[in-house]
């Protein structure tokens, strides 16, 4: 079972619909038992970083997720991906889950519109288990104003928008997508399927 972690933020049903469509057993849950029993975890999220981290902390799931992330695959989506990093500067300095080294700051560019919203193309930095079958130039759907600043070591796919926007990041069994795979057509479904097939 894939646990879609429900800590009070965001529309979790679109992630659930995509997993249902692909045929993967999944459950929207905030129960510690469910999360511990799950084979994999997805951390979704929309909204602001401080509010989301606060909800995660108050639901008592922060430590559990960090612990379980040592044992099984975790995929963070959009804000859920940003929460995998050390720290964010959205509104105020807020500590993240520190599962991947890096920080979250506003997209730094004067030439592009913020938020970065719409379909944009992917550039492959290096393969990881989730990028299998994804080709350079494939497009995915982004909606965000803040982005991860991290080492290229952790970047599998990125998009050029102003500077480099990390699209798919990974570190051991931890994965994150800045874009919404559940809203990115066939390419997004491919990435979710790759996650579903992870052992």
């Amino acid at each position: 079972m894939i646990a879609i972690i429900d800590y009070g933020a965001g529309n979790l049903f679109s992630v659930k619909n995509a997993l249902d469509y692909l045929g993967y057993d999944n459950k929207i849950t905030n129960s510690k038992q469910d999360i511990m029993a799950a084979e994999k975890m997805i951390l979704p999220g929309v909204g602001s970083f401080p509010a989301a981290m606060k909800m995660l902390r108050e639901s008592g799931l922060e430590e559990l997720i960090k612990e379980e992330a040592n044992k099984k695959p975790l995929l963070g989506i959009c804000l859920g991906m940003q929460m995998l990093f050390d720290i964010s500067y959205e509104f105020e300095e807020t500590k993240g889950l520190s599962l991947i080294p890096g920080e979250i700051r506003l997209i730094e560019s004067k030439e592009v519109k913020i938020p970065h919203m719409g379909w944009n193309s992917l550039i492959k930095e290096k393969d990881c288990a989730l990028s299998k079958g994804v080709n350079e130039g494939d497009m995915v759907y982004y909606v965000h104003s803040y982005q991860a600043y991290t080492s290229m070591d952790y970047i599998s796919l990125y998009t050029k928008y102003g500077g480099v926007i990390p699209g798919l990041v990974f570190h051991n069994n931890i994965y994150g997508t800045q874009f919404h795979p559940e809203k990115s057509g066939e390419v997004g479904l491919r990435i979710l399927k790759n996650f579903g097939e992870l052992k």
Binding site: S14, A18, Y21, L22, K113, M117, K160, E186
Partner: protein, 263 residues
């Protein structure tokens, strides 16, 4: 580079797909979910459902429809029609919409835009504007399905909705809508020049060249069409293919890209 988006629009009345011409005369076409799935598979970048009745009965059918559509559609979904309160927005987002389109209610109470944007994020608020040319230099904004002239000047109103926190503008020209003579290039460019948020062109496309023209001659970010797709005059694939040949950045869905369940 961001792709120019092609949006398939489905006008809904009592849960049925319908098509109106020039804001008058309505015809039933079929099951909106089937059509929406077809457009998703053809590579539509977004799907928009507009409830043209939007009374409580029609709204309940819209929730059902949205619930079904979401199970098979994996691109952003926008829903509009009679959205007039923060609760309406909340319910539609909860039912599976990614964005909500607001028209008349924004004119009646512009603060509604900022209320919705501050709770749900600007990206989820699309402001729909129906406008008509009044004189050479002047376009005015209409509401209530094109029946009431507000007297508001189009560009002033567009700037105002941006200031209030709109994420996007869906601009329909009442002069070109239903004519199949092409998008309203001057009206669109007037609004594109005035705002920094994405503008969606709507009303008037009759063939593939109209899509090329709107992206070559204006800075619109997306183009929306309805009947031209419903009646099979043109597929979304054909539009994307033609735009791509003209070096307009679009998302091409690969034929071999179909993804099934677990291996």
């Amino acid at each position: 580079m961001l792709a120019k988006r092609i949006i398939a629009c489905l006008d809904i009345r009592d849960g049925q797909l319908v098509k109106g011409v020039n804001f008058e005369g309505i015809r039933e076409i079929g099951d909106p979910v089937e059509y929406a799935i077809k457009y998703n598979n053809e590579g539509a970048d977004e799907i928009t459902f507009l409830d043209i009745n939007a009374d409580s009965k029609s709204r309940n059918k819209m929730y059902d429809l949205l619930y079904k559509a979401c199970k098979n559609i994996f691109v952003p979904l926008t829903v509009g029609g009679g959205v007039s309160s923060v609760d309406d927005v909340k319910e539609l987002l909860r039912a599976g919409a990614d964005k909500v389109s607001i028209g008349s209610a924004a004119v009646k109470n512009p603060k509604f835009i900022s209320d919705a944007a501050s709770i749900f994020g600007e990206q989820s608020v699309v402001i729909a504007i129906d406008a008509k040319r009044i004189s050479d230099e002047r376009y005015e904004v209409f509401i209530n399905g094109g029946r009431v002239n507000t007297g508001l000047e189009l560009v002033d109103w567009a700037k105002k909705v941006e200031k209030f926190g709109a994420g996007e503008i869906l601009l329909t020209s009442m002069d070109t809508d239903g004519t199949k003579n092409g998008f309203d290039i001057p009206m669109l460019q007037a609004v594109c020049d005035a705002v920094n948020i994405p503008v969606i062109a709507s009303g008037g496309c009759g063939n593939v060249d109209d899509f090329v023209d709107v992206f070559e001659q204006t800075s619109a970010d997306a183009a929306l069409a309805a009947s031209i797709f419903h009646y099979g005059d043109l597929t979304i694939e054909q539009v994307k293919h033609e735009l791509s040949k003209k070096n307009i950045p679009v998302r091409i869905q690969h034929k071999d890209g179909a993804v099934d369940g677990p291996i």
